[in-house]
Each structure stands twice: as C-alpha cells, then as structure tokens.
C-alpha cells in the first residue's frame, strides 16, 4: 500500500494493466421451492475499482463466488487478462486454488487458530521461508498492522481485522481482487483510511477490483465505475454520477427506500445553476407544488418521478430565512405517529408528504395535528427517476 518494496517495476505493471481485463459473462440458476433465482450478468472490469451496488439478495455475493470459483455457473465464460477461469462451452473450470482471485469475505474469515502474521503468511506456502517472511512483514507494514503480528484475530478490533484480512489477500499478489462489503461495520473515518490505502496499493498493482456494497456513500466515495445489480441482473452501469444522479430505474430508487414518491413534470431547466424546476400536480389545491431539483438529462415537459426520503425533510413552525435549501413549502400537519424513537408526521401541502422527526423535535416545536408548518427540502434531497 504505501511501501515501494511491494511495488512492481513500472514497465511490468504497465504490461500487466494492458491485459488484466476481467471479462465476465455467465448465468446461474438456483432452483428454489418458492421462487427460483436467476443470476445473469455480462460485464468487463478494467484495472481499478468497479463497484457492485444493489440491495441484499440481488446476487452480488454469488457473482463474486462465481468469479472466485466457489460456485460454478451453468453456462458462460469468465476470464482475467485472457486467462480462462471458466468456460461452460469447453468444460473449463479452474479450481479455486489456481484462479489467483483474492477474495475478502464479508465475514473476513480470518483463521481463528492462527496469529495475524500466520494468517497473512497462509497464502505464501510456495515461497522459501526468507522471502515469505520478507513479504509478510512488508505487507503488514503497508497495512499498518505490524504491531499486531503476534495477536490472535479475536484480540483485534474490527478495523484491524479488516486490514489483516486485506493484507492476507493482497500479499498473494492476486490477479483480481474481490471485496464483499469488507468495510461493512466500520465508522466512516476508518473506512476512508483503508480505502485510501487500498487505492494507493492499486496504483502499483493494476488489477481489477470488484467491490460489493449497498451503501450509497461508498459508491460515491470509491467509484470509478458502478454496476447496479437487482434481482440477478445488471440494471444500470456507468460512473457513480451517471448511475446515481441520472434519472434512475425505478427499482434502483426503491431499493434506497423513499417514503415519498410523486409524479412530476419538468417545468424549467436551469443548467447554469445545475438545477431544474419540477411541478408536482395536486388535488383540490390552488396550483401545483414546485420543487427545485438537481439537473438531469430531461427536457421541459417530460414526466419524471421524484423521490424524497422522509428523513431528508425539515419542518419549521415559522417561515425560515437565510437558508441554503431551495424549497420552502407551506403546509399543515395532518397526523403524528410515534414509531419507536422517531415520529412520522403526515403533512399536507397540496399533496401528502411523510416527514420523520425525533421525539425532541416534535416536543420542542409543539407539533400537533392542524399546526401550520413549512417543509424545507434541499435540492439534492429530491431524487429523480424515470417513470
């Protein structure tokens, strides 16, 4: 990661980069009693990060398992830099141990009976002792876990375990790196640090990295390229900006969980501000509700759907001023309902919106049904989708 000793000569790295494309095209059917599941994907991953984004159960882990050889596809072809790992047509199915696919599981799967150092050395059995020791200490240093070498995996923290699992995989110099939500349970700061180190490592080791996540933040933080997977298929792909901010497929939007979804018509576009104005038709109200939303590739008059998360809407009891939020809409509280530690408010402003607040917010604003309020919505809290 930050150690020149594990870097390859530039020329060799470059040669490797040219032919290190991961080409994946396969299908796999899982018969199940209720509903069978079909995973059918086709994509090419260049060296660098490729994010696999989608809800749990979409088939992301199974996809990685197929690349690693832990699950055998029914048909198709998987190759890395021209080296065929699986070819259904020719009956090629390279065993897991021969694929050189580094795989960091969601559970990390550190060997509990070995120390951190022994874990990291595990994949180097084919090397002479001296070389093994040198590479192990280099990667431990690069991953900043040298001081944990003699510890047991059970005695180290979550972030340290993630680093140990990464080190164990990276030290084997894999041809492709498969990361299954490896940073799942970490706080943002620790996560960002590990990702930085991983990027640094990837600069000298130009291999494709498939990174599975269901976190939007991670998609934006990492993303050179995103594949959105839902129900076993790739439903969208592109840069995070393209996939996540262009009008999304409805399925993609729903998986992120919007409580408020409305029909909208584009009324005006403001490319200079990077926004546009959408009109939301209302029932029995003076006129439509206008929302300023992010700019997407859609012309005036086209219909879209706009999704707003209930937790992204602010409530104010007097007209707020000096705000950066572009949307301030008057409304009236219809009902308040306590759900565990949040309060779900239904507010009428020409249409009904669900707003989530804390118990404290409800009490300090003296909110009650019938109360006049202002809804405050940031432009970027308005998510646009195709109809």
């Amino acid at each position: 990661m930050n150690d020149a000793r594990i870097a390859e000569p530039a020329a060799a790295a470059e040669a490797k980069a040219r032919d290190a494309l991961l080409e994946v095209r396969f299908n796999k059917r899982f018969p199940a009693q209720r509903q069978e599941f079909l995973l059918e994907v086709e994509f090419t991953a260049a060296p660098g990060f490729t994010i696999l984004f989608g809800p749990s159960g979409a088939g992301k882990t199974t996809l990685l398992d197929c690349v690693a050889g832990l699950v055998m596809p029914d048909a198709g072809r998987i190759s890395i830099g021209g080296r065929v790992l699986f070819d259904g047509g020719r009956g090629t199915n390279l065993p897991v141990a021969k694929r050189h696919a580094g795989y960091v599981f969601q559970s990390l799967a550190l060997f509990p009976h070995l120390t951190v150092e022994e874990n990291v050395q595990y994949g180097l059995a084919h090397l002479p002792q001296a070389q093994r020791r040198e590479r192990t200490s280099a990667i431990l240093r690069a991953c900043r876990i040298s001081h944990l070498a003699l510890r047991n995996p059970r005695e180290i923290s979550g972030g340290e375990s993630q680093r140990a699992a990464l080190a164990r995989t990276l030290v084997t110099d894999p041809a492709v790196l498969l990361l299954d939500e490896p940073l799942g349970a970490l706080d943002a700061a620790t996560k960002a640090k590990i990702i930085d180190d991983l990027r640094e490592w990837n600069r000298t080791h130009r291999i494709p990295i498939l990174y599975v996540t269901h976190s939007r933040e991670e998609v934006f933080a990492l993303g050179e390229r995103v594949l959105v997977i839902d129900e076993g298929r790739i439903v969208a792909q592109g840069t995070p900006h393209e996939v996540m901010t262009a009008p999304l497929q409805e399925t993609v939007a729903q998986l992120v969980g919007f409580e408020n979804v409305f029909d909208a018509t584009v009324e005006a576009v403001h490319p200079e501000r990077g926004t546009m104005t959408c009109a939301l038709p209302t029932e029995g109200h003076a006129g439509p509700v206008h929302l300023e939303t992010p700019l997407v590739r859609a012309g005036v008059g086209s219909s879209l759907r706009v999704g707003i998360r209930a937790g992204d809407i602010l409530l104010a009891t007097s007209l707020p001023q000096g705000l950066s939020a572009r949307n301030v809409i008057p409304g009236r509280v219809l009902s308040l309902q306590q759900r565990d530690v949040i309060v779900s408010a239904r507010v009428y402003c020409g249409l009904e919106m669900e707003v989530h607040l804390t118990l404290v917010a409800r009490d300090s604003l003296l909110l009650a049904p019938g109360r006049e309020v202002w809804l405050v919505i940031k432009t970027h809290s308005c998510h646009l989708m195709q109809t």
Binding site: A68, G69, L70, P95, V96, A97, K98, R99, H100, A101, G102, Y103, F105, S107, L108, A109, L110, F111, P112, H113, Y122, G123, A125, H126, N152, P153, R154, G158, S161, R168, T169, T172
Partner: protein, 226 residues
C-alpha cells in the same frame, strides 16, 4: 487373586492400536461424510452407524466368518502369513475397528461439518490444496471432535465383550481381554476379583468420558474471528 495384569495389558494394547487405527482410517471417511454432496451419502452414514445398534454377537459372527479360512479375505491372509486371522490379536483388532468405527467417525464428521465454510473457502482462494486446507484449517479447528472420537473409540474398545468373544475367543495373553476376565470370574463365583477389575474399568471409562466432556466444554470457537 487380584487383577489379571496380562488381560489388562492386552486390553490396553488393543485399545491403543484400535483408536490409533481409527484416527487414520476415520479421517477420510469422516471427511467424505462431512463434505460429499453425493445423493447416496445417507447409505454410507447408515452403514457406519450400524455397529451402534447391531448386537455385538451379530457383528462378531460376520467378522469371524469373513476372517475364517473359507472367505477370500481369510484365505488371502493365510497365504500371506500361514495362519488364520480368527482367534488372533490381529483378528481382534480388525473386529474392534469395525465395532468402534461410528464412535470415531461420527464426532470427526460432526466437527468437520461445523467448521465455517467461509474459512475453508478462504483457504482455497489463498491457493491451498484440499489436503493443506484439511491439515491447516479443518483439522486444527476440529481438535475437540478429534479428541472426542479417539477417546470414545478407546473407551469403547476397552469395554467390548461380544465381538471379542466371537472373533478372538478366550486365549490368555492373545485374545483374553479384561471384560472376558470379568465374565470368567463371575462364572467361577469370584465376585471380589470381578469387582476389582470391573471397578478399574469403570474408573477408566469415566476418566475417558470426563476428558471428552472437558474438551468439548472448552471447545474452540469454530467460526471466523469476529
């Protein structure tokens, strides 16, 4: 007349040889049972478990027939060594291995199957062959199961009676084990002698079981580290 040291020594030898043999033979069988995806696996499991429910005399009878001069195995052994397997220590070992097979294989297989599959997968993705994965990951994490299997087959062999009597007979120093010695003493109304030997066997078996339960109480976590 105290404890028959010769019978005791013989029984101990038998138990050591049998449990050692089962450790070697039981591992591949247990591995196959734990990881095979064959449809007819249940049949093999049933065959392995058979000695648990089969009367020892039935098992002993068939082993005797199989080892006798009329069976191919028995004939092959005779051409090889010049004497029959029946009523010899080697014959006793073979009978005892079959009789204690489930006591070794079942704990082995259960502990193999309990090893987190992701650890086994991790080993493979790190380039390890199935054999290396077995010795570096599966076996160390199955240690309590391995100890249990060996201890149970040891204790079970120490106390066996029916199979020994059928296959080995009652030849002092060759096939006369402690349980047969106890039986003989009771037949001869030597209750105090029988009691001494029986008590020793009781204590030994208790100690073995205490080891088994003690080991499993402090069982290693067989999942991945958190």
């Amino acid at each position: 007349m105290g404890i028959d040291c010769q019978a005791f020594w013989l029984t101990l030898q038998l138990a050591v040889v049998v449990s050692a043999a089962l450790l070697v033979l039981g591992l591949p069988v247990a591995y196959w049972i734990a990881f095979s995806k064959r449809r007819w696996k249940f049949l093999v499991e049933a065959v392995v478990a058979l000695p648990i429910v089969l009367p020892p005399t039935v098992l002993g009878f068939y082993v005797l027939v199989a080892l006798g001069p009329r069976s191919p195995v028995g004939r092959w052994w005779i051409t090889l060594t010049g004497h029959t397997l029946a009523f010899t220590f080697s014959g006793l070992v073979i009978g005892s291995i079959l009789y204690s097979l489930p006591f070794a294989v079942q704990p082995f297989a259960a502990s193999f199957a309990g090893v987190d599959r992701r650890l086994i997968a991790a080993s493979a993705t790190l380039g390890a062959s199935p054999l290396r994965t077995f010795f570096r990951v599966i076996a160390p994490l199955s240690l309590p199961g391995l100890i249990t299997g060996v201890a149970l087959s040891f204790a079970h062999t120490m106390g066996e009676f029916g199979v020994v009597l059928m296959v080995g007979g009652n030849i002092p120093g060759v096939t006369r084990t402690v349980s047969i010695d106890i039986f003989d003493r009771v037949q001869a109304s030597d209750y105090s002698g029988a009691n001494q030997t029986a008590l020793l066997l009781l204590v030994l078996c208790f100690l073995m079981l205490a080891v088994v339960y003690g080991v499993n109480r402090k069982a290693w976590m067989v999942g991945p580290a958190k």
